[in-house]
């Protein structure tokens, strides 16, 4: 055991700083230090989590003392246990981690003695941090026959709880209730992983005790799912489990903790039933919730000889058949055990079938023939599971079944009430699969599609699903479908939409669409736009499908846009009139409606709504139509005439530019985004109408703002456009910082304005001091953040800078930093630290100038943007400027309080420091040594090697 003198020497060193303290404990290997250090007060008070008031974050300090305990736990388990039990409680999850590791190194009977302490940590965030450690401990204890401790930890670890209460959220006037789900104390991934690992060990070692435990955990979890049902408030609903209890592909996506618990309980039961037989069934079926019945049925199906009497009793109870949640397991149980029932017991089920369905709820939706068909199908499905036993029953049953069989044929996946296939719902009237539709000729396909029988209840499944398949088929073979597209008239809107969507995708993907087929496609489109738009059609069960031709019209608008825009399979010029006749009605479409614009049905901003609404897409198509005309050889001669050569376009553009005729901000946004294109088409017309694009009247201010916002956000700076729009730019400089901050944007209009202005400065369109309404006014009004964007923008574009522009940019920086100096640097942090962006390669300025500017910024703020790029650049200059590079690095380290960046900077820092240490310049050398020690004090031990071969005399120590 180290003597007191050595202990005192150690304390003398470790008290100097945290790095020493950590180094000492991390390097202790012998357990002999444990008692003397404990006697000096160590291992008693773990560090608590640290709460950061500013970021509201929590950090969990390492505790070198607990790490030492875990390393020596195998050598001195009893002493380590005693110390852990006497230790103050903590919420520090890193300490919990170490102590759990300690438990894993002790013999199980000793680990078991700290189980109460371990359980007490589970409600701290600890378990979220290190769930696998807790899981390992369960397995370790169980394997070591410490069953009581293992089960105690298991219960605490896997119990579910409701973390968030139910809450109502109103989105676009629709109230959505988020029902709380039972949640685990840690990540669902780990919940599953750990349970899969510990379940077999617990089943083996704890036997029926483990089954009882998991029944209890699952029962408590199911209780948490209690809900009142809207239709029957007096009844309570409880979660009844995934589609199948056995492993089944239908269970995909059923990986919530409660599902994981269900599968775990099933596995334990399966492992125990061979040994404990009926006891297992009793334990499970003793619980009241449906899920336990389902697990019981599953076990009875798989191990039907364990309790045949019980199974017969269940299957002769009519209550068993009423509960729909039992359908899947009951189906299999009937299939395997129905033959074991006595005739009178079988009659219970047959009478249940004979009684039929309760027709009342169906009357709201179906006519009497439909209800009767529904009932016959229901009966058929009930018979399906017992069909092999029907031959032994009276003729009547046999005959009924045969009739139903000839009416409905084979049922796919009869053991499920609902079956999900390839992401498309398919119920009891399955549409033809993709494979089946692929094998059909076009005529057969059209005939099939026309004859599809749908009800409101099946509309979603059948029509939407088939529409999706039709799109896929068209995409795979666009010419075949396009050639015959006129024959798709009269079909349901989602089917026509699917076909046209497929053609559009094929053109977009350059899949060899033959332009000769544009004619039949356009004819089909023409037929659609001629249909009454809001004709009453069936509504899907969920009301989500196209109730009119709206979606198909949107698809057509997109198809036309693509057809005018594409370079390969574009619409032949000869169809100009036909194409316009299809397009024009779409520019008159009511969508976007007032409701959509006001956010009642969507939350799109105007620019997004413009590309997601029929009229918006149609306006885009009009623009591409104009460009398409200009692009065409026949159109070239007309190019100089601008919009005069296409009066139909001019008329539409002028109409929708009038806010009294088109009130839509989405359409106004189109004019902003497409402004440069419109200038390209007809500059004179744009010049004449520029006040209409950005109307000055107060009543139309929203239109002006929307057009500007879309323009500035989505267009590149262009000197030609700038000349046209100088007045609007000047107005917008005056409006800086006046935008609503509530709106979510991917960028801010003022940031974009800053970038445009910088671009014009770069291009010598404007100067720093004139005209007054641009940069001088901008810098008076813009915030530090916005100004930061100007510096950043220059940095991002320096790669394009030639020698002539560099003095302009240096001039800008010098003036800004001088201005900042005169204002005592208050409110310049963002702008000046953005200087780091100027180090993005290739660095175009003189090295010394760059270093001097960098030092100025770092002395002020101890940080700079793009720090890793800056350090990389410094490392390339370390030979030439050893002292300056170390100085910059020192300042950056000082500013890097959290120490997160050092790992990223490491290689470049090594280069800077090693160069300086080897350098003859004493100042560079000494500063580097000081910084290396400083880095060590911050916990970066990898820099220690830099000091190898350094003299250790006092002078070097203190430089």
């Amino acid at each position: 055991m180290p003597n007191p003198d050595i202990i005192n020497q150690a304390i003398e060193q470790v008290k100097k700083r945290a790095a020493n303290y950590q180094y000492f404990f991390d390097n202790l290997k012998s357990s002999e230090w444990l008692i003397p250090l404990y006697n000096e007060g160590f291992f008693r008070i773990p560090p608590e989590p640290l709460f950061d008031k500013d970021s509201k974050g929590v950090s969990y300090p390492f505790w070198p003392e607990s790490r030492y305990l875990s390393r020596i736990a195998s050598k001195s388990p009893k002493q380590v246990l005693d110390i852990i039990l006497k230790m103050e409680n903590t919420r520090n999850i890193r300490v919990h981690h170490d102590l759990i590791d300690s438990a894993l190194f002790m013999p199980p009977d000793i680990s078991a003695q700290m189980i109460d302490k371990v359980v007490s940590w589970i409600d701290a965030p600890s378990v979220r941090w290190y769930p696998e450690g807790y899981g390992k401990l369960v397995g370790y204890l169980a394997r070591g026959n410490q069953i009581e401790a293992a089960l105690k930890l298991t219960r605490s670890l896997f119990e579910l709880s409701i973390v968030e209460e139910a809450k109502k959220v109103v989105i676009n006037k629709t109230t959505i209730i988020h029902e709380p789900k039972p949640e685990s104390k840690f990540d669902d991934f780990w919940y599953k992983e750990i349970l899969e690992k510990v379940e077999p060990i617990l089943a083996e070692k704890a036997g029926m005790e483990s089954l009882t435990l998991f029944c209890g955990i699952l029962g408590n979890a199911v209780k948490l799912t209690e809900r009142k049902i809207d239709e029957a408030p007096e009844e309570l609903y409880y979660y009844s489990g995934p589609p199948a209890i056995e492993d089944h592909e239908q269970n995909n996506y059923h990986d919530d903790p409660i599902d994981i618990l269900i599968f775990t309980l099933r596995k334990i039961a399966e492992e125990l039933i061979e040994k404990y037989g009926i006891e297992v069934l009793k334990e499970i079926e003793n619980h009241e919730f449906t899920i336990f019945k389902r697990i019981g049925f599953h076990l009875r199906w798989k191990w039907h000889d364990v309790d045949l009497i019980g199974t017969r009793k269940i299957l002769s109870d009519v209550e068993t058949f009423i509960n729909k949640d039992l359908y899947h397991e009951r189906y299999h149980l009937l299939q395997i055990c129905f033959g074991e029932l006595k005739p009178d017991e079988q009659d219970v089920y047959l009478k249940y079938i004979d009684k039929g369905i309760d027709k009342e709820p169906y009357k709201r939706f179906y006519n009497i023939q439909e209800i009767e068909k529904e009932e016959r199908y229901w009966k058929y499905k009930q018979f399906y599971s017992i069909q092999e036993y029907i031959d032994n029953r009276p003729e009547l049953w046999k005959k009924t079944f045969q009739e139903l069989n000839s009416e409905f044929g084979e049922i796919k996946n009869p053991d499920f009430l609902r079956y999900i296939e390839s992401g498309v719902w398919s119920g009891y009237r399955v549409p033809k699969s993709r494979e089946q539709l692929t094998k059909m000729s076009i005529d057969e396909l059209i005939a099939f599609l026309k004859d599809i029988e749908v009800s409101d209840d099946t509309y979603d499944d059948v029509i939407e699903g088939t529409g999706v398949i039709l799109k896929e088929l068209t995409l795979a073979n666009p010419n075949k479908f396009a050639a015959e597209s006129e024959h798709f008239k009269e079909l349901q809107p989602p089917l026509v939409s699917g076909l046209l969507d497929g053609i559009q995708q094929a053109i977009k993907n350059s899949s060899g669409f033959d332009t000769q087929f544009w004619k039949p496609v356009l004819n089909l489109c023409k037929w659609v736009v001629d249909q009454p738009r809001d004709v009453h059609l069936r509504k899907g069960r969920y009301g989500k499908l196209d109730p009119n031709w709206g979606w198909t019209r949107q698809t057509i608008a997109s198809l036309l846009e693509e057809g005018f825009k594409t370079e390969i399979s574009y619409i032949p010029y000869e169809y100009r009139e036909l194409a316009w006749n299809v397009l024009y009605p779409l520019t008159e479409d009511p969508d976007p409606t007032v409701e959509r614009e006001s956010g009642e049905t969507t939350s799109f901003d105007p620019a997004t709504l413009a590309i997601n609404s029929i009229r918006g897409i149609a306006m885009h198509a009009v623009l591409y139509y104009a460009l398409w005309i200009n692009k065409h050889p026949n159109g070239e001669s007309e190019l100089s005439r601008g919009l005069d050569s296409m009066p139909e376009v001019k008329k539409v553009l002028e109409k929708h530019l009038n806010p009294d005729k088109d009130f839509s901000l989405a359409i106004r946004s189109f004019y902003g985004v497409m402004f440069p294109w419109l200038v390209q088409i007809d500059e004179e017309w744009v010049t004449q109408h520029i006040y209409k694009f950005f109307p000055h009247e107060q009543a139309y201010s929203k239109f002006r703002d929307t057009a500007w916002e879309s323009f500035i956000m989505f267009t590149k700076p262009d000197p030609k456009i700038f000349k046209l729009m100088k007045e609007e730019y000047a107005y917008r400089v005056e409006c800086i910082e006046k935008w609503s901050e509530e709106k979510t944007r991917f960028a801010h209009p003022d940031e974009r304005l800053a970038i445009h202005l910088m671009w014009f400065y770069w291009d010598s369109e404007i100067e720093l001091d004139e005209p007054k309404e641009f940069l001088p006014r901008f810098y008076e009004k813009a915030s530090d953040t916005i100004c930061g964007h100007t510096i950043k923008f220059i940095g991002n574009n320096l790669k394009y800078a030639n020698g002539n522009i560099l003095p302009r940019l240096m001039d800008l920086w010098n003036k800004r930093i001088t201005h900042a100096e005169s204002a005592k640097y208050e409110g310049f942090e963002k702008e000046l630290t953005s200087f780091g962006n100027w180090f993005v390669p290739p660095v175009k300025f003189d090295d010394r100038w760059m270093i001097e500017q960098l030092k100025k910024v770092l002395k002020l703020y101890k940080k700079v943007e793009m720090d890793h790029i800056v350090i990389k650049w410094l490392s390339t200059k370390s030979e030439e400027y050893p002292s300056e590079t170390v100085c910059c690095l020192t300042l950056m380290i000082e500013g890097n309080k959290e120490g997160w960046n050092i790992h990223r900077w490491k290689d470049d820092m090594m280069k800077i420091l090693s160069t300086a240490i080897k350098n003859a310049d004493a100042n560079a050398h000494d500063s580097a040594i000081i910084l290396v020690h400083r880095l060590g004090s911050l916990g970066n031990l990898e820099f220690r090697d830099l000091l190898k071969n350094q003299q250790k005399d006092e002078n070097v120590d203190y430089c």
Binding site: K16, N20, P47, E894, G936, L938
Partner: protein
């Protein structure tokens, strides 16, 4: 730096002191000046009160440190002496004015004068109870800020450092108050000064990896003796 070197010639600074003053200058030129001033006074051989005056400067230097790292201080600005003096004044006034104090004895029902005194005594002890922990907290915050590593020592070790710091401070306050003026204490004075420099140098210019080598040796020794 030029100024420092000039003084170096005059008062013979060790390299350690030079590094110390440079480190102080980095933090605050004002602080470096205060410390340098105390060294200056110490070297005025013709000045008979130089140690007390130097100690006074050092006390001021020690008191200024929290301010330069922007640690708000309250307890460190308060002192027991003035609190006791206030209480004594109150005591004297009460003895004169209270009806409860007669013939050097206290008797009768508590009157308003005595009630006020008791309240002041209560406040004094309350202050005294809170003062030390508060002062300790302020010193710890100062060390953490000076260190700047954002990594904390356990409270127990920080407490050792606080106690050491207070011992150094108390020593210089004692000298400043002429409690020890015997010239034979020069050596002791220099030792305390070296303690102060070493203490702050360990924080301002850590020699982390040199310390690690020492720790390696301590562990080796400890393992051998185990």
């Amino acid at each position: 730096m030029e100024q420092v070197e000039k003084i170096n010639i005059q008062i013979q600074l060790s390299s350690k002191q030079l590094a110390f003053i440079n480190a102080l200058e980095d933090k605050s030129p004002e602080l470096a000046k205060m410390y340098l001033g105390s060294l200056y006074v110490m070297n005025q051989n013709e000045n008979p009160d130089r140690y007390a005056q130097a100690a006074h400067s050092i006390r001021e230097f020690i008191n200024a440190i929290p301010k330069i790292v922007q640690v708000p201080i309250e307890a460190l600005n308060e002192d027991m002496g003035s609190k006791v003096n206030d209480l004594q004044n109150e005591w004297n006034k009460t003895c004169q004015n209270s009806d409860c104090y007669k013939n050097n004895e206290w008797e009768g029902k508590i009157d308003s004068h005595l009630r006020k005194l008791l309240k002041n005594i209560f406040d004094f002890f309350d202050w005294k109870n809170k003062h030390r922990p508060k002062r300790k907290k302020e010193i710890i915050s100062t060390f953490r800020e000076l260190d700047g590593s954002n990594r904390q020592l356990p409270e127990k070790l920080e407490e050792i450092n606080v106690n050491k710091w207070m011992m150094i401070r108390d020593y210089f306050i004692g000298i400043a108050h002429h409690k020890t003026i015997d010239p034979s204490y020069i050596l002791e004075f220099n030792n305390w000064l070296a303690e102060l420099e070493n203490f702050l140098l360990d924080i301002l210019i850590p020699r982390t990896f040199n310390d690690f080598e020492i720790i390696d040796k301590i562990i080796e020794e400890g393992d051998k003796s185990a």
